[in-house]
Every structure is written in C-alpha cells, then in structure tokens.
C-alpha cells in the first residue's frame, strides 16, 4: 500500500469518515442544535469538493492493485456528485423541518450515498462496482421511507428496496458470469482477456446482458422503470430530488464505465440492443408523462424519458470516433440533467405547502404573478429538459444526437427529436399554466432553496451560451476511458 492508493480514494474516504462523525455528532448534540447538522454536512461536501478539484489536475492513477482508479472520468463525476450532494442538502434543509422529518440520520445517510456514487465513478473492478452500487442504494432505500409514519413514504421505501435488491441480484449474477467468462473481475483484465481471445464470449455476453438489466433498473430505463413513479411520488420530495439526479447519474456512471471500458468487444451485439432500449424508453417515458396530472409523477416519467436520451450514448459504440463523442456528450447531458432536475424539484418543494396533498400541474397557475423569479427559473428548467434554447439541455441533446448520427443510427436520432417534440407538450404546459392562468399558489420563501434554484437556473442559461470549455472537459474526461 502506498501514498498513491490513499490519494486515489481520498475524497471517498474523507466523505465516509465525515458521514460517520456526523452520525456520532448527532447522538451527542442536543435536539435544538439539529439544524447545525445540515451545515456540517454541507461543509464536508464542500471540503471534499475542494480536494476533488485540487486533484483534477493530476494524471491517471490506479489504486489498490487496480481496484479503484482516478482519471478524468472519475474527476468529472466526483465534482458532479458532490454538487448533487450540496444541492440535496440545500433542498432538504427547510423542507425537512416543514415535513417534520428532521431526524439526525438524514445527512449522514445522504453523505454515505454520495460517497457510494463517487466510488462508482472510480471503480475499476466489478467488485467495487457492486459495493459502490449497494453503498449508494441502501441509504436511498432508507431515505425514501424517511417520512414514516406517513404511509406513502414507507410504501415507496419498500417498493424501492424490493426492486433495487432484485436488480442487485441481476448485477451479482452478471458479475459472476463475467468473472467465469474472463477469469477476472478487473475491468482492464477483462478487456485483455477478450483481446487475447481467451474469454468465453457467449458467457460474457450473457453476463453483460444481466448487468444491463441490473443497471437498467437503477437508471429507470423501460422496461425496468415500473418502480420510478411510485417511489418518486411517495418519497419525501427532498429525497426524490436527490435520488432523481444522483442515483441516475451513478447508474450511468456504472454503465459508461463497465460497458464503455470493459465490453467494447461486445459492441456489435450490444449496440442494437441499447439503441432499442433507448428508443423504447424515450417513447414510453414521454408518452406516459403527457397523461400525468400529478406533478411528482409527471417529473418521474420525465426522468424516465431523460434516461432514454442518455441511453442513446451507448448506441454508436461500434464506431470508434462516435464513441468518444457519445460518452462525452452523455457526461455533458448528465450535468445539464442534474441542474434542470434539481431545479424543477426545488420549485416543487417551494410550492408544496401541504405535504399530504399531491401537487398537481394546475397548482402552478398564477405563479408568474405571485413569484416571477421562481416562474422564470422553472421556465428555464422546463426548456432545458425539453431541449430548447437558451439552455444546457439543448446543447447536450445536440452533442448526443450528433454522436448518434455519426454512429450511423439516424433512425434513433429521429425518434429522439420526435419524442422531444412530444415532451414539449407536457413541459411547456407548466410554463403556460404559470404565465397564462390565474391562480393563487402558496409559495414557501426559503433562502437556501431559492439560492439553489437560482444557481441552477443561472448556470443552465449562462453556460449554454459558451459551452465549449465544459464540453472540452467532458471530452478530456473520457479520453483515458478507452
């Protein structure tokens, strides 16, 4: 064991240790000091973010015998996950007080989950992939049920747990088959054994297929999406916001890492499958979202549809040049999605006055008059999710579509464009409601929440005007991946 080993996993270790200390701090802090915990959690995330940024200049480094790795890809994702965590804390702080779920375990669990996501970005071995998957999932199961004894929340927790555990069964079996086919769980060695021709390709394909099913559950791709609307609706909204952005990004991190790095040899078999999965997910998610009236369910189906766009990145894997661009585009789109998703869930939190009553789309009527800035921010997020200018969502979609077309799958890009038009219907309906309809929505004024929403909206617009440095970062991030 060397200093490099520690430096590679320093951010994850620091965050895990911080979460453990937070858990103990909660025991010894008097009840009145509880709000202090949110600040401590944010401090830990910010500290880790600083270290991750400081490390981002450093070069590729494997650690612990190749179990984990630090490269551009993991650096990009670490920053994204830590921002997700910070957003999560900002959105939870006042909401949890209002919902009376200000229990001390909340922030430690959130931090553990972020640590799991970061580990996922750094995993270079299937064992670590599995551990990271469980480390990020377990806290989320508990957090989904965190609003007990509210029955919806408990039910959401149980459903998420049952389907998540089911998915992890597929992941483990897939890893076992991959191990049997290639004789190793190390991603680099799997690639080497395929290149050397010593791997058992049918078994490897079966393993990859099972892994795809498992991760498909995590990212909520059709047909593995059925838990999403119920869990997103039933879980406390602050948790849903965190889960919608973080868990999905982590799922894609695993998919990109495993399928991008370890299974390029299977691209000919997997690419058409991925393309069909992406198409079905886009079609289904968008079409069902149109029919929703409950705001949380609508956003849940919207997040399914967004997973479809991200899955497009796996379709052009057979062509080398398109592959790098597709993965870079996916990273870029993940950032755009994280901002827009957090922003729109933040607005939902601001509007959710009565926590037992479901927020419907009609409740947005008159928001523009009542709170113009909030309405403007929501408009930005809806435009970004639809993929209209001037937002990051548009830029991300252009990158993804270009990669898909260069990969020779024009039909997939056409489906993507058509379903984007469908999605405009339900996203813009909210904008119409906010600006054109009369209504008296009750808006919570909370500083941290407004700051988070504002920051997400400003970044979404400003960066979209000059996105090239960010895209270059994403491209640099995936360079070492293949």
């Amino acid at each position: 064991m060397t200093i490099t080993d520690f430096s590679v996993i320093l951010p994850v270790t620091l965050l895990t240790a911080w979460a453990s200390i937070l858990l103990l701090a909660e025991l010894f802090l008097p009840r009145a000091q509880r709000p202090f915990l949110a600040l401590l959690a944010a401090l830990g995330l910010a500290l880790t973010l600083g270290i991750s940024l400081a490390q981002s200049a450093q070069e590729f480094a494997p650690g612990f015998g190749g179990m984990v790795v630090r490269d551009g890809f993991s650096n990009f994702l670490n920053v994204l996950f830590l921002l997700t965590g910070l957003f999560g804390v900002a959105l939870s702080y006042r909401y949890n007080q209002r919902a009376q779920i200000e229990r001390g375990e909340y922030y430690p669990l959130l931090l553990f989950s972020v640590a799991g996501m970061m580990l996922m970005g750094q995993a270079a071995d299937l064992i670590v992939v599995f551990l990271a998957l469980e480390l990020l999932s377990f806290p989320l199961y508990i957090l989904s049920a965190f609003a007990y004894p509210r029955p919806q929340s408990e039910e959401a927790g149980l459903k998420y747990f049952l389907l998540g555990a089911f998915a992890s069964g597929f992941v483990v079996y897939g890893i076992a088959l991959t191990f049997g086919a290639s004789g190793s769980t190390d991603l680099a060695r799997i690639v080497a054994s395929v290149a050397a021709g010593s791997a058992n390709l049918p078994l490897l394909t079966a393993g990859a297929g099972l892994l795809l099913v498992g991760f498909g559950f995590k990212v909520a791709a059709v047909p593995f999406h059925m838990w999403t609307p119920d869990v997103y609706q039933g879980a406390p909204t602050s948790v849903t916001a965190f889960m919608a952005a973080g868990a999905k990004t982590a799922g894609f991190a695993a998919l990109l890492r495993v399928f991008g790095a370890a299974f390029p040899a299977l691209a000919a078999d997997l690419s058409p499958l991925m393309a069909i999965l992406a198409a079905v997910t886009m079609l289904f998610g968008n079409l069902i979202a149109v029919a929703q009236t409950d705001m949380k369910r609508m956003l849940a189906y919207s997040s399914i549809a967004q997973a479809g766009y991200l899955l497009m990145a796996f379709a052009p894997f057979e062509i080398e040049a398109a592959r790098t661009m597709a993965v870079a585009g996916a990273l870029f789109y993940l950032l755009a999605y994280t901002l827009a998703s957090f922003g729109s869930w933040g607005v939902v939190i601001a509007l959710e006055k009565d926590l037992d009553r479901h927020l419907s789309i009609g409740d947005f009527a008159g928001l523009a008059r009542r709170s113009p800035w909030l309405a403007a921010a929501m408009t930005v997020f809806m435009l970004s999710l639809t993929g209209l200018p001037p937002t990051l969502g548009l830029v991300g979609k252009i990158y993804l579509f270009r990669a898909v077309i260069e990969g020779g799958m024009v039909w997939l890009a056409v489906i993507g464009a058509l379903t984007s038009v469908v999605s405009a219907f339900y996203y813009l309906r909210i904008v119409v409601n906010m600006f054109m309809r009369e209504g008296e929505p009750a808006v919570e004024r909370e500083w941290w929440l407004e700051f988070a929403i504002g920051a997400a909206a400003v970044v979404t617009v400003v960066v979209s005007l000059w996105p090239f440095p960010l895209f270059e970062w994403a491209e640099w991030a995936v360079m070492k991946l293949f």
């Binding site: 049952l162 069964g169 191990f179 059925m226």
Partner: protein, 102 residues
C-alpha cells in the same frame, strides 16, 4: 471431480427459482427470500468459477464473502422496512400496498 457445468446448472436453477419467487409471490418477505436465492446462486457461480479457473487468484472467493456481507445488510434494511409497514398497515402483501398506483 464433478464437472464445472454441474455447478453452473445448479446455480442457474437456483437463480431461476429465486426469480420465479420474486415475480410470483405477493408477500414482501417471500420476495425477499427469492432475492436471497438469486444472490446465493451467484455465489455458487463465483466459487465454482474460482475453483475451476484459477484457484491461485482469490478474487472469486473474496467476492462471494463480500456478497454475503452485503446481503446481510440488505436483509437488515429490508426487514426493518417490512416491520415498519406491518406495524402501520397490518399487511406485507405487495398487492395491498397500493396507496399509489403500483
């Protein structure tokens, strides 16, 4: 020595039984049992592959142990959720947990 394929058949059968259990049973505890079967099927695979391909390398065995530990943690979380729901609703039948459209 027993050929490797026998172990693979056994584990595939266990996995299929677990899968059937998850999909067919309505009781949350029974679903959990099915999931455990799936995990343990994978464990049989891991250990068998380890033994038959490269016993000098410990990865397969180590992974099986890690899966054990994770499965225990999973059961702890799951059973807590089940108990919590049972106290409030007096049922753990998945179909009856239908506050939201399932």
């Amino acid at each position: 020595m027993i050929p490797l394929s026998w172990y693979l058949y056994l584990s595939a059968a266990l996995f299929a039984i677990g899968l059937y259990g998850v999909l067919a049973r309505k009781n949350a505890i029974a679903i959990l049992l099915g999931i455990e079967l799936m995990l343990n099927a994978a464990n049989i695979n891991l250990v068998a592959f380890w033994r038959y391909t490269d016993p000098a390398q410990m990865a397969g065995q180590v992974f099986a142990i890690i899966v054990f530990a994770v499965a225990a943690a999973e059961v702890a979380v799951g059973l807590s959720l089940v108990i919590s729901i049972y106290r409030a609703r007096k049922t753990v039948i998945a179909d009856e947990l239908d506050l939201m459209k399932w």
